[in-house]
C-alpha cells in the first residue's frame, strides 16, 4: 500500500511535466550495503534488498526506493525473524557535471520504516509490528549516463531512531535503464 503511494506521487509529478523534459530511470539491479551494528555489539556490512526508480528533470532528480532487510536468529526451539521495510523519497541536485557522461549529485532524503518481528518457541508464535517511524538521510551520488543505460554509486548517511550506528553509512550501486 505504501509503495502505491510512492507510485502515485511519482506519476502525478511526471504527468505535470513535459514528457520531453522528463527522464525516468528504473533500477532493477541494485547492490545495497549498509554498515550496521549486529547483536554482539560489533559492526558489519549487511546487504539490503533495494528496488528503486528515479525521475530526472534538468538538474533535478527525485529518487524513490523500497528497501527491505531480514534478520533471523535462534535455533529450532526458539527463533526470531525480523523484517524491516523502508520507503525512501530523496531529492538530488546535479551539483557538478564532470563530463558528458559523469555527474555528481547531492541530495537530501526522508521516509519511514517499520518492522515486523516473529518470535517462535516450539508451537508458540507471536508477531509484533512497529508503527511507521520517520528517518532522514543525506546522499552523494556519482552517476553515469550513456544513452539508455544508467549506473550510479550512492553514498548515504541515514539517521533513524532504531538504527545503529548513528548516522548509519550506506553504499548503493545501482544499474538501470532510462526512458
Amino acid at each position: 500500500m505504501k509503495l502505491n503511494y510512492f507510485l502515485v506521487i511519482f506519476f502525478i509529478i511526471s504527468s505535470l511535466c513535459s514528457a520531453q523534459e522528463l527522464k525516468v530511470t528504473l533500477f532493477p539491479f541494485n547492490f545495497d550495503y549498509r554498515y550496521v551494528e549486529i547483536s554482539n555489539g560489533e559492526y558489519q556490512f549487511n546487504q539490503f534488498k533495494n528496488l528503486s526508480f528515479s525521475t530526472n528533470y534538468e538538474r533535478h532528480q527525485l529518487l524513490l526506493e523500497h528497501v527491505e532487510y531480514q534478520n533471523s536468529s535462534g535455533n529450532q526451539t526458539i527463533n526470531f525473524d525480523e523484517t524491516t521495510q523502508e520507503y525512501h523519497v530523496s531529492y538530488l541536485y546535479e551539483a557538478h557535471r564532470l563530463n558528458s557522461y559523469f555527474s555528481l549529485y547531492l541530495g537530501l532524503g526522508s521516509g519511514f520504516y517499520n518492522a515486523k518481528l516473529v518470535t517462535r518457541y516450539l508451537d508458540q508464535e507471536i508477531t509484533d509490528k512497529t508503527n511507521n517511524t520517520l528517518f532522514l538521510s543525506g546522499l552523494i551520488s556519482l552517476q553515469f549516463h550513456f544513452k539508455f543505460f544508467t549506473g550510479q554509486i550512492d553514498f548515504r548517511l541515514l539517521e533513524a531512531k532504531d538504527y545503529r550506528p548513528q548516522p548509519t553509512p550506506e553504499m548503493i550501486l545501482r544499474t538501470g535503464f532510462s526512458f
Binding site: I13, N75, F80, S110, L134, D162, R164
Partner: protein
C-alpha cells in the same frame, strides 16, 4: 510549473526535517528503572513448560547493555590484573504500543532473561538471609572462549575467582542454556557455596597444604552444570566390591592425607552440586530442569525418588564414599573424571532429600510450597555458613571415624531447621538412620545413636544422641 513542484517538494523535505523534533535515540537507550519486557518464563502451572510472559526488569541503568543493579554482562571477556574486563553486549528491542519491550534476537533474549533471573535470585538471597554474601551487580560472561578441557560449548559454569557466571556457546537445537531458568539458579547457588565454604576451607592448613599438591578444591573454582563425568559408578557391583575389598584391608585409624583430602573433595563437591540442583528445582518446580537444554546427561540428575530407584530419600554412607575414593584414586588417568561422577551421584541424593523435605513440610504444615521452600532454603544457607566456619577452624583427622558422613551433615542441618513436630523429625531421622550401601538402592539401617526429642521451651523437635539407659 515543474520547477515550482520540485521546489515545493524540497521545501517539504526541509520542513519535515526541521519540524521532526524527535530524538534519534532508540527507545531502549532512554529506558531506565523498571522496564516491562516479554520473555520466556517457566509456566507455574506446568513446570516442564516455558511460556511467553511480560515481566518487569528492575533497577535497569541501561536497557541496551542490560546493565543494572542486579547484573552486568561481559562478552569476549578477559582478566587484566585480576580484574574482569570485556565488551558490553548490545541488546536490541522492539517497543510495542503498550510500552513492552520485545527482544529482537537470541542474544537480546538471553541478556534480558539472565538479568531477570539474577534479580529474582538476588531478592531470594535477601529472604533467606544471604544478602551479604554476593555483591551486586553479578557478573555474567557470554560469548567468550574459556581455557580448559570440557569448556568449549553447551555448558554453564560459575567461576569463583572472577565471581562470574559463564555461559558457553550453545550449539544444540533445544532451549539455550542462557534461557534455562533452572540452570541459572543452579549456577547462582555455586556462588553462595563458594563464598561460604570453598573460600573458608582455604584457611585450614590441611586443605591449604593439599591445594599445592593436588588439583585444589578452591583453585578449581569452576563448577559447571554439566561437568565431565562417566556413567554411574556406584551402581556397578564390580566397582563397589573392589572398594569394599580395599576398605577391609585399610587401617581406618590412620588414613593417608590424600585419601582424606579426596574424601572431602567429593563430599563437598557433591553437596555443592546437589544443593545447586535443589536450588534449580526450587526456582522452577522442575525435577529435571537441565533436560530442556541438554537431553542426555552422563548421570541421572532427576530429582525424583522413582528415577533414583528409591522408596524414600536416602544419602550415601561414609563407607560407600570412601571405598569409591580408594578405587578411583588407584587409576590416576581417569581420576578427575570419576571423582566428578561420584560427586554428582552423591549430590543428586542430597538435592533429592531437600526437595522431598520441602514437599513434606508443605503438606505436613499445610503451607504453600513457596513458604516451605523458604524455610528449607534458609536452613540450608545456615548449614553451609556454619559448615564453612567449622571446616576452616577444625583439625582434620586421618581417622575414619572422624570423617563427616552425609548423615553427620544432615544432623548439622537439623540443628538449623525448625522441626515443628514429631512427624517432621522422623522424616529427617529416617534419612539419617537408613542409607544405601554397596551398589544397591535397598535401604539398610546403619548404626545410629540419634533420636527425636521434643524441646518444649523452644516449641520444636531436635535430633540428638540417645541417652544411655
Amino acid at each position: 510549473m515543474t520547477k515550482i513542484i520540485y521546489s515545493l517538494f524540497l521545501s517539504l523535505a526541509m520542513v519535515t526535517t526541521l519540524s521532526c523534533g524527535k530524538s534519534f535515540n532508540p527507545d531502549s537507550d532512554s529506558e531506565k528503572g523498571k522496564i516491562r519486557v516479554r520473555l520466556l518464563t517457566v509456566d507455574p502451572l506446568i513446570p516442564e513448560k516455558y511460556k511467553f510472559e511480560v515481566i518487569e526488569l528492575l533497577n535497569i541503568f541501561d536497557l541496551t547493555s542490560l546493565s543494572g543493579k542486579f547484573a552486568r554482562f561481559y562478552t569476549k571477556a578477559y582478566k587484566e590484573n585480576d580484574e574482569l574486563k570485556g565488551i558490553q553486549p548490545r541488546a536490541h528491542f522492539l517497543k510495542t504500543k503498550s510500552g513492552v519491550f520485545i527482544p529482537k534476537d537470541e542474544l537480546s533474549t538471553n541478556l534480558a532473561s539472565i538479568y531477570y533471573h539474577t534479580q529474582n535470585l538476588a531478592l531470594w538471597d535477601q529472604k533467606i538471609g544471604a544478602e551479604k554474601i554476593n555483591t551486586l551487580p553479578r557478573k555474567i560472561i557470554l560469548n567468550t572462549q574459556i581455557n580448559g578441557k570440557g569448556y568449549k560449548d553447551n555448558n554453564a559454569l560459575y567461576e569463583g575467582k572472577t565471581d562470574a557466571i559463564i555461559f558457553l556457546k550453545y550449539t544444540d537445537q533445544d532451549l539455550p542454556l542462557a534461557l534455562n531458568a533452572g540452570v541459572f539458579a543452579h549456577e547462582y547457588f555455586h556462588s553462595l557455596f563458594y563464598k561460604t565454604i570453598q573460600l573458608k576451607i582455604n584457611e585450614n592448613p590441611f586443605f591449604k597444604k593439599m591445594d599445592e599438591k593436588i588439583l585444589a578444591l578452591s583453585k578449581n573454582s569452576r563448577s559447571g552444570v554439566l561437568n565431565i563425568s562417566m556413567k554411574p559408578l556406584l551402581a556397578s557391583t564390580e566397582f563397589t566390591n573392589k572398594g569394599k575389598s580395599i576398605l577391609a584391608k585399610t587401617d581406618l585409624a590412620q588414613l593417608t592425607e590424600d585419601s582424606v583430602y579426596d574424601y572431602f573433595r567429593v563430599l563437598l563437591k557433591g553437596y555443592n552440586e546437589g544443593i545447586a540442583d535443589f536450588w534449580g528445582w526450587s526456582y522452577t518446580n522442575d525435577i529435571n530442569f537441565i533436560s530442556h537444554s541438554i537431553k542426555e546427561t552422563p548421570t541421572n540428575r532427576t530429582l525424583e525418588l522413582k528415577s533414583q530407584n528409591l522408596e524414600r530419600p536416602a544419602l550415601h554412607s561414609k563407607s560407600e564414599i570412601l571405598s569409591s575414593v580408594f578405587v578411583i584414586s588407584a587409576d590416576p588417568e581417569v581420576k578427575e573424571v570419576y571423582y566428578n561422577t561420584l560427586s554428582y551421584e552423591i549430590g543428586t541424593r542430597v538435592g533429592l532429600f531437600y526437595k522431598e523435605l520441602t514437599n513434606f513440610v508443605a503438606t505436613n504444615r499445610k503451607i504453600s510450597l513457596d513458604e516451605a521452600k523458604l524455610e528449607v532454603s534458609k536452613s540450608i544457607f545456615q548449614l553451609i555458613s556454619g559448615w564453612g566456619n567449622d571446616l576452616a577452624n577444625s583439625q582434620i583427622s586421618l581417622n575414619y571415624e572422624d570423617l563427616p558422613s552425609p548423615q553427620d551433615v544432615l544432623i548439622k542441618f537439623s540443628k538449623t531447621f525448625m522441626i515443628k513436630n514429631a512427624i517432621e523429625c522422623e522424616f529427617i531421622l529416617n534419612a539419617i538412620k537408613f542409607t544405601t550401601n554397596n551398589s544397591t538402592t535397598t535401604l539398610n539401617q546403619i548404626a545410629n545413636s540419634n533420636t527425636c526429642i521434643q524441646n518444649e521451651i523452644e516449641n520444636k523437635y531436635e535430633i540428638k544422641p540417645k541417652e544411655n539407659d
